[in-house]
């Protein structure tokens, strides 16, 4: 006998007839069967609401199983039929006083779901009773009902004093009731503008005491609520954390992860490094153990580990092996592991990591292979001592001639060249053998960049570039821009070799192309070369240093995410405000004990990850995306006196720059402009300037800046904000 038969499409009339049938049904077997059919139809999405009045009659049947199904029905349809729902109220109020606590709880629970004004009105009084019911099961159900009611009508809950009653429940002798009361309060606090949960130490320690005895879920509520406790003294924070430590051994991964979150949060209020490091050590085994759970849990753990190690690298510094990828790990787990391996890599374990990553580069999973190749390149940039080994690993991979591996390798080799200029040029010859295989824009652009940059060392640079030029007009923009710059570089370095190509490419760029970026860059180069070839040397100026620093998360974002360990934000590595509509932000609340860690390298711009629909799968890994940091003084003639001037005056700024745009731009005192930002990105300045682009002076400055920027970092092209007012300018 199975339930599947109830899934047959039941006709309303038939069901009604069965429900009201006068046949002898002393044991309610028939009613039960009909109810099953109705519930089955309901789950299939068939509209069963016409049966409402008949169902109300069934409510009085004193069989728990039937009662449950009736309640299920009411929850589903009562909201759409408010007038009908009223008819149920009498039965509800009777059930709320039933001697059986199970029924009392069930009815108060169901009433909370039926959010119809009149039902809610008649819920208030029974709810008040239930919150003080002698049976803890009823009390805990009532606590949750307050949260339900709050979402329906906040003012009502506040007026009727339910919040105070919830607060009283925190002192309840039954730990599970305490857990549910705190869950309700937390939810109310997160949704409300004027209610904010704050726990003082005495309540917090009561809650922690309840931790040991309540159910696993209630434990997560209590732990979650501890995030609202602001320790006033370092000792309090340590004491609280020590009492949470046993939770790290819980079988429920949600309890474990929430405990980790609370402990890391409390560390902000500890002044002794010994305490912090002894607690950090205790976090290691549970984090590693989470990795042996199902893939979903593993994924959440990995994404969170990635956040934790950026703040507290000591937690997992000796645990490299657990992040080695297994052949049959799902791809999202592999990618998350790879990123962690990269972060944990240091000069001591680099050999181990490199061997492992090389292994991945030979796997079948193309996406993973690419990330592995890219990782080798990033390791070279991160750890100078290992650069040599990384390069030879990359060369080995190039020998395999697997097309996508070669292309990926060339892209990262460009970055290595930028990081360590004039050191590994000997391999250029090898790279050139693969020129014809390049068919991906990024790899092509990288190769062109290398040729342009080392045009004076590569004998046949002109021929190679000329080869690329054949397809210039069909190539994607990325390649065109790279080629344009490379050809100009070639001309500057070896005028004789470039003199044929340059006019050809400039002409294409300015006349044949309908891409404004390319055209503008073409014009600028053209004018530059024709008016002041000496100034054009700026194109060859030193490139800003790249480092894997820029892969680090923005410190502000990191702090925010650390308060959200285990949440969706921690998986996307995005601030919750960016993807949620209703969200109350969290901050580290100051207290005398708060250890302010001033972020060492504040950055002007929160790194936005490219957001596509599958962002959870491929976040954060993909790009290098260096922030230019302009340490280079081109001509070194900045006048220190001038920096003292009033920087807030835009005219001064512009005058200062116009004196000699090509030399001044790098000494531009942008850090004075925004004193709280060390690393102000020039691009942002330009965006600011474009806002007043119609002023001729500003326009000139803007152009001057762009010229230098063009060659700084091609990969940042996409990040340009649309300069407002650009259209208008062209029309004038």
């Amino acid at each position: 006998m199975s339930d599947a038969k109830y899934f047959q499409r039941g006709k309303i009339q038939e069901l009604r007839a069965e429900l009201n049938s006068d046949k002898k049904d002393s044991k309610h077997v028939r009613k039960k069967t009909v109810m099953k059919k109705i519930v089955a139809n309901m789950t299939m999405g068939n509209d069963m609401s016409p049966l409402f009045p008949d169902i109300i009659n069934v409510m009085n049947v004193p069989v728990l199983e039937i009662k449950k199904m009736v309640y299920l029905y009411l929850i589903n349809y009562a909201r759409n039929r408010p007038e009908m729902a009223m008819m149920a109220v009498t039965t509800f109020t009777k059930d709320v006083e039933d001697p059986n606590p199970l029924i009392r709880a069930l009815s108060i629970r169901t009433m909370g779901y039926i959010q119809v004004d009149k039902v809610i009105q008649s819920l208030l009084e029974p709810l008040r009773h239930c919150l003080r019911d002698q049976d803890p099961y009823v009390r805990k159900t009532a606590a949750i009902s307050v949260a339900k009611l709050y979402i329906y009508d906040r003012v009502l809950v506040e007026q009727e004093g339910f919040l105070d009653m919830l607060r009283d429940l925190l002192g309840d002798p039954n730990p599970t009731v305490v857990g549910n009361a705190i869950a309700a309060l937390t939810e109310i606090s997160e949704r409300s503008e004027n209610v904010q949960l704050k726990l003082n130490m005495s309540i917090a320690s009561k809650l922690v005491a309840a931790l040991n005895e309540c159910s696993e879920w209630a434990q997560t509520y209590i732990l979650e609520a501890l995030m609202y406790c602001v320790p006033q003294e370092s000792a309090d924070a340590v004491m609280l954390a020590e009492r949470i430590v046993p939770r790290l051994q819980h079988a429920n991964s949600a309890v474990v992860l929430t405990s980790i979150k609370v402990i890391i949060y409390l560390m902000n209020y500890m002044d002794s490094p010994e305490d912090i490091s002894s607690l950090s050590k205790k976090l290691t085994p549970p984090l590693v153990t989470l990795l042996s759970s199902g893939p979903e849990v593993q994924y959440v753990a990995l994404r969170n580990i990635l956040i934790i190690i950026q703040k507290r690298p000591e937690v997992l510094k000796n645990e490299m092996k657990v992040f080695f990828c297994k052949y049959n790990d799902p791809i999202y787990v592999k990618l998350a592991k790879l990123e962690i391996m990269f972060r944990l890599a240091n000069p001591k374990n680099i050999d181990q990591v490199l061997n492992e990553v090389k292994e991945y580069a030979a796997e079948v999973d193309v996406d993973f292979v690419r990330k592995a190749v890219r990782c080798i390149g990033r390791l070279a940039v991160k750890i100078e001592a290992a650069a040599e080994r990384c390069i030879s690993a990359l060369l080995e991979l190039i020998q395999t001639k697997v097309n996508y591996v070669v292309q990926e390798a060339i892209v990262v080799i460009r970055d290595i060249f930028r990081k360590y200029p004039n050191r590994y040029e000997s391999i250029i010859g090898t790279l050139c053998e693969y020129l014809d295989n390049l068919d991906e824009p990024e790899a092509k652009a990288a190769m062109i960049w290398i040729i342009g940059q080392y045009a004076d060392r590569i004998e046949n640079a002109d021929e190679l570039l000329e080869d690329f030029c054949y397809t210039f007009l069909e190539d994607p923009q990325e390649v065109q821009l790279a080629l344009l710059t490379a050809v100009v570089k070639l001309f500057i370095k070896r005028p004789s070799a470039g003199e044929e190509l340059v006019p050809k490419v400039l002409k294409w760029a300015t006349e044949e192309s309908d891409n404004p970026d390319l055209r503008d860059r073409g014009y600028i180069y053209w004018r530059l070369l024709s008016t002041d070839p000496a100034a054009a040397k700026a194109i060859m100026s030193d490139k800003p240093d790249i480092s894997t620093e820029s892969d680090n998360m923005d410190p502000m974002l990191l702090e925010e995410l650390l308060l959200h360990i285990g949440s969706l934000a921690s998986i996307y590595h995005k601030s919750p405000t960016t993807f949620l509509h209703h969200y109350k932000p969290r901050y580290l609340i100051p207290s005398p004990a708060l250890q302010r860690q001033i972020p060492t390298t504040p950055r002007a711009e929160v790194r936005e990850n490219p957001t596509d629909a599958m962002n959870g799968y491929n976040p954060y890994m993909s790009d290098f995306n260096q922030q230019p940091s302009f340490p280079v003084d081109l001509v070194n003639q900045a006048d220190p006196q001038q920096n003292q001037q009033d920087i807030s005056d835009p005219d001064f700024l512009i005058d200062f720059m116009l004196q000699s745009p090509f030399t001044r731009v790098n000494t531009f005192p942008y850090h004075l402009l925004y004193p709280h930002v060390n690393n102000f990105s020039l691009q942002q300045l330009i965006v600011t300037l474009t806002k007043s682009i119609l002023r001729p002076k500003v326009l000139l400055t803007f152009l001057a800046l762009t010229i230098v920027l063009f060659d700084l970092d091609d990969s940042e092209e996409e990040e340009w904000e649309d300069p407002g007012g650009f259209e208008a300018m062209e029309e004038e």
Binding site: D135, N174, A254, A301, K321, I331, E474, A613, Y617
Partner: protein
């Protein structure tokens, strides 16, 4: 907090839906299915086609290398959390079903995954198997379970023993019983366990024969290098208990060598402080089957791995030759059973020829895997060997083989963990006590 839960079959059709906080329209599932379709259709690698598409010819590079490897993701590769503009889709895939929870607000995914896992476990316990068929056949029970396990997005009762008091499992006995005595009125009493300080055990349990069984199951996760050296190896142990004891026994269990354990997590019944101070497991057990603890042991020395595998792959023209030798290691005289070696031949493989010294081998041409069922291996005999050749459309070295192993060893714990004693307090009887151990392969992988 969990808003809604949809259970979908592999085709994305709704089998059952449950809403705890207002109804999320079913159309949301279509959105999820769209995401799945886009994800599955997304080529991981498409050669650059900027020009080649227009004139219809492949670029020279593609022609030369022939690596038009357009690989697509499998459903298992779908990330468990998917970000879309309105909903965040949390999903768990188990046994061909997708358990989908769309959420609109900030949640703790770990809690949702944990909860969904729990539902699956409970349904498994109730119905014996979790599949579209079994859920459809017992959907009223599943629905009641969902209702009982969660209230307004807050997990309510997730202990099977307590649930069973509220919702009787669909046994033949219960079916007969409910038909005969359905009119007994509100017969059910408040589940006694829900709120006592020992929520996992109810009062008044009685057995004619008091017995308790412990099952130590250890799974070996390992990655071996082709020369046999170990890259990483650890064992994940679970201590499963089947407890059939009367009354409220208080148990105390010791191990001979608790030091081998690197990390451990316990069922809520275990008194943690006692373990920290004395390395003693002290607990009042739940009734019936439960997982007392799980633990992790690093296996640093090669001696502890029960098997040694040495694959050899040599490339030939259009393919390669391979030989795999499995050498058993001493395992306290216990035989290695159900040894299965699975070799993924790579996507480009076109055919395999193999012969083995023991057991049987099959080649699955759709999955491109060679499965060698060795069976029982005796340490004294000659080590089993599989050798053969394969043909492939790409260079063999670009496409390395990957070997995974499955095996099982009865009455043997690879970590060396051994139960020393079990004492019972608060009850007068002397129960029958049994301990079994089992070691099997978890993710056991050999690189070539």
């Amino acid at each position: 907090m969990l808003n809604s839960l949809f259970v979908l079959n592999a085709q994305g059709k709704i089998i059952i839906e449950k809403h705890w906080r207002g109804v999320i329209p079913r159309q949301v599932v279509d959105k999820f299915n769209d995401q799945v379709v886009t994800f599955l259709a997304k080529p991981v690698y498409t050669p650059y086609t900027g020009r080649s598409l227009e004139d219809g010819s492949a670029t020279s590079a593609q022609q030369r290398n022939g690596d038009l490897l357009v690989q697509r993701f499998a459903l298992e590769d779908l990330p468990p959390v998917i970000d879309t503009p309105h909903y965040q889709f949390l999903n768990v895939q188990r046994g061909g079903l997708i358990w989908l929870s769309p959420v609109e607000s900030e949640v703790e995914p770990q809690m949702i995954f944990e909860f969904i896992h729990r539902i699956i476990d409970v349904v498994q316990e109730y119905l014996g198997d979790v599949s579209e068929m079994s859920i459809r056949d017992n959907f009223v029970i599943v629905y009641q379970l969902l209702e009982e396990m969660m209230d307004y997005g807050y997990p309510l009762t997730t202990e099977t023993s307590v649930l069973k008091e509220v919702i009787p499992p669909p046994t033949v006995y219960n079916k007969v019983y409910s038909t005969v005595s359905a009119a007994a009125g509100v017969g059910q009493k408040l589940p006694s366990g829900t709120l006592s300080s020992i929520p996992w055990r109810k009062l008044g349990i009685k057995y004619a024969n008091n017995e308790i069984y412990f099952d130590v199951v250890e799974e070996v996760d390992a990655i071996l290098e082709k020369n046999g050296s170990i890259i990483s190896a650890e064992a994940h142990g679970t201590l499963n208990v089947n407890c059939r004891l009367s009354g409220m026994p208080d148990l105390s269990m010791t191990f001979i060598n608790p030091r081998v354990i690197d990390d451990v997590s316990f069922h809520p019944c275990v008194r943690y402080q006692k373990y920290v101070s004395d390395k003693v497991l002290s607990f009042v057990p739940p009734d019936g089957h439960f997982k007392l603890m799980t633990y992790r042991v690093n296996l640093p020395s090669g001696q502890l791995i029960p098997l040694q595998v040495r694959p050899q792959v040599t490339a030939t023209k259009n393919g390669g030759k391979f030989e795999v030798v499995v050498t058993p290691r001493p395992t306290e005289g216990k035989a290695i059973e159900h040894l299965v070696v699975t070799i993924s031949m790579g996507k480009a493989c076109t055919g395999v020829n193999a012969s083995c010294s023991m057991g049987d081998h099959f080649y699955d041409s759709t999955n491109k895997t060679l499965r060698w069922e060795v069976g029982k291996v005796d340490i004294r005999g000659r080590p089993p060997t599989l050798s053969g050749s394969f043909s492939s459309s790409v260079d063999a070295l670009d496409n390395p083989l990957s070997i995974t192993l499955g095996f099982q060893i009865n009455m043997y714990a690879v970590s060396g963990l051994k139960v020393d004693s079990l004492k019972i307090y608060h009850e007068g009887y002397k129960p029958y006590k049994g301990v079994r151990s089992l070691t099997r392969a978890g993710k056991f992988q050999v690189r070539t």
